[in-house]
Assembly symmetry: C2
Homo-oligomer: 438 residues x 2
């Protein structure tokens, strides 16, 4: 027998994504969090756990079964097959999702244009895989950008060109400039990724005029818009302008949906609405959704019908309105956001060097400070002050965000927010003293 | 407003996989099946539906919850979080899977080397994504080969070089020849994919000597083996030789597991055991499983903990033995296979032009005939004779399989097998008459 070698593989001979910051930063942040389990965490963008209840999960599953029997008239054997066997690649709750979109988001979606996915992440991955034909293809994204987007793009070797966010959520002049510059370089900009409502990580939202302008610009420049909308229902007051997809008369928008925050993260069910018409080599024309479905069949085959049934049951029990189903949650997030903003004001309102965003909803607030914010400071903060947050630099592909931190309030109680802010104030005071001293 | 264009995208500008036979053939076969819902189907490789029961699913979920509470001692809040919240990327039933592997397959797996995935398909995808670093990388696979493997490879632009199966499941001389030829061409063969037990589609199994030789060859040629084992528990008699992974003393084998046939397709839970040691650019050494986990975090984030809990409950209720849990199913598949083989013998035993494989387990039998077997004949068979099967040409990347069809017995009753064989006999008689006449 030959001696067992100490190393079997090296990442230098594995896919480049494995050494990419997009894939390693998530790990790093989780790793810091796991080493300081006692720290208060403004880092996790997880939904509140206050109403988690496995009995409700059982009940949703039964509700969907009853729906199959009573409303769709399926015989018992067919109900069992629908829940337990391999199933339709595009999913079994596509029609219920279409009803939810009509009810909550003003989107009239053809159920055949819906692909149910393993969370919104798979939806994003499928779209990027389809759009990346060769090395000329590039994606645009508002920067700072969601790490899940950057990571999925990296897996399919699709470069992401940053578009300036600015104070309003997107700098449209910069978007046009980036598109044209890319084309001059022989590149093929395919789409621009955007979270129009309470974006992760910036917290910013696009106003109605910007939404119309962005759609017109997509038409004019012949690109798609990838609209990701996990936080739209969590407005603090009057709600949000219509989604891009609701305003989309030219099939420019691919809509990415998630039930992680509105139903249950543990179901891992999301979806994509892809109603674009695609011509194949043999001249047939079908839906982009059907192309995405072909890719999905080679990634996850189909989304667990049991997981889909859980989400389907939740939709059925709430008359298809997740806006209505999340009344309690919306109240909690609104109160938490207000408490955080009030707490920031009372602690740092007099300090000219510290500023923060004031989003009208969602989970995230960005705080800009007069000292460097990096992973080393995060670790120091966790160890010495017992508080976690996210350095904004993780959301930039190049330089950027080095003096900003992201605070998430979604999974903290009011008391934890106050205590966490006290600890952050200690950290800030300490760091500013260091700065003055040095 | 500009006029809405009739077509928004063309596949020529989307990823090449979308026009690839690997991704379109699955669709084509499903499409034929859906147009002839009344036809008897030897096409689907689905497990029997006889014991599907949503109440059992509820019970498995409760069993796993109780396990968290009673055996792991988690407080109620932590149980709810484990089932409902986002969770560990590598999964929450990894330790139970390791116990199952020890019990049923003689595999001693470090639970940390297990990544729980959305079905075995995602496991395959993650491994191929990791191994395809650049255009020099190639995969080897016994041909005829599983379409899910070809499709996943196509998604990451990884060419698959066919290795001759021959009558024994793998031609090891051909494997060596293919590896060396590829290296002479400047290519980098990374791994060979193999189903050692009752392979899909050939039905063939490797004997113990071949398994040892294959492992020695992998060591000698410095490649990995991707062992896929969905059918190993469904032996007709004495069981199977040890898995490659059980014999793997040099960490050459990446083991791909599925619960679709042994627990429930609708859970969509599979896994990969990847205990290879990987050195990263900064010199740290970790498990290949952790690299796969990084990729998974950008494809599906994590496998639904509820779906995992269902599988976990099934493992707990069966003392970790799926060999034991599938006693009834194994009996059904054995009887079905015997009935099919007996039926083929009684109908075609006297015909020298027709032959078939005689596997000792699994779902699949291949029948070779003296006329051309293609998609047109399948459609004719469905329309005129009311019987579906799979043309073997779908399992070859180039030419091959043009006179062979695959029959699956996994989801047919004894009566349906007899009736289906009568219909197939009609088709064969008709086709041989055409051939004689032409």
């Amino acid at each position: 027998m030959s001696e067992v070698p100490p190393v079997d593989l090296v990442t230098a001979e594995l896919h480049g994504s494995l050494e990419d910051p997009a894939l390693t930063s998530m790990n790093l942040l989780n790793e810091v969090a796991s080493r300081f389990p006692g720290a208060l965490s403004f880092a996790a963008g997880r939904p509140t756990e206050r109403f988690f209840d496995p009995e409700v999960v059982h009940s949703w599953l039964r509700t969907f079964s009853r729906h199959l029997t009573e409303e769709r008239g399926l015989p018992e054997e067919e109900v069992r097959r629908t829940l337990c066997q391999y199933g339709r690649t595009k999913g079994i709750v596509h029609d219920l999702i279409a009803q939810n979109l009509a009810r909550d988001s003003g989107i009239e979606a053809d159920p055949e244009a819906v692909v149910v996915t393993v969370g919104c992440q798979e939806a994003m991955f499928l779209v990027l895989r389809a759009l990346r034909a060769d090395e000329r293809d590039v994606l645009l994204s508002v920067s700072p950008m969601y790490v899940g987007l950057t990571g999925a793009a990296r897996l399919v070797d699709l470069p992401v060109l940053p578009v300036i966010s600015g104070p309003t959520g997107i700098d449209l002049d910069n978007l046009v400039a980036q598109i044209r510059k890319a084309r001059q370089q022989g590149l093929r900009p395919r789409a621009c990724y955007v979270m129009p409502d309470y974006a992760n990580p910036s917290g910013l939202s696009l106003n109605l005029a910007q939404r119309h302008e962005l759609l017109a610009l997509a038409e004019q420049e012949n690109i798609l818009l990838l609209e990701d909308n996990p936080y739209g229902l969590f407005h603090s007051g009057q709600g949000t302008p219509p989604t891009l997809k609701a305003l989309d008369s030219g099939r420019r928008v691919v809509y990415l949906g998630s039930f992680a925050k509105t139903v249950l993260p543990g179901a891992r069910v999301g979806y994509v609405v892809a109603d674009q018409r695609v011509a194949t080599a043999d001249g047939e024309v079908g839906l982009f959704a059907d192309q995405l479905s072909k890719i999905k069949s080679m990634v996850t085959v189909n989304t667990s019908p049991i997981a889909q049934a859980i989400v389907g049951g939740a939709l059925l029990e709430n008359d298809f309105s997740l806006e209505q189903a999340n009344t309690r949650e919306r109240g909690i997030y609104r109160d938490s956001l207000n408490r955080l903003l009030t707490g920031l004001h009372s602690r740092f309102g007099q300090h000219p060097g510290i500023s923060w965003s004031a989003p009208a909803g969602g989970f995230f607030v960005c705080v800009t400070v007069p000292f460097t914010v990096d992973d080393a400071l995060l670790e120091h903060s966790a160890r010495e002050h017992g508080v976690l947050w996210t350095p904004m630099s993780h959301f930039y592909s190049g330089a950027g965000g080095t003096k900003t931190l992201r605070l998430s309030v979604s999974s903290l109680t009011a008391e934890a927010i106050d205590e966490g802010l006290d600890r952050i104030a200690e950290l800030f005071t300490e760091q500013m003293a260091v700065k003055v001293a040095s």
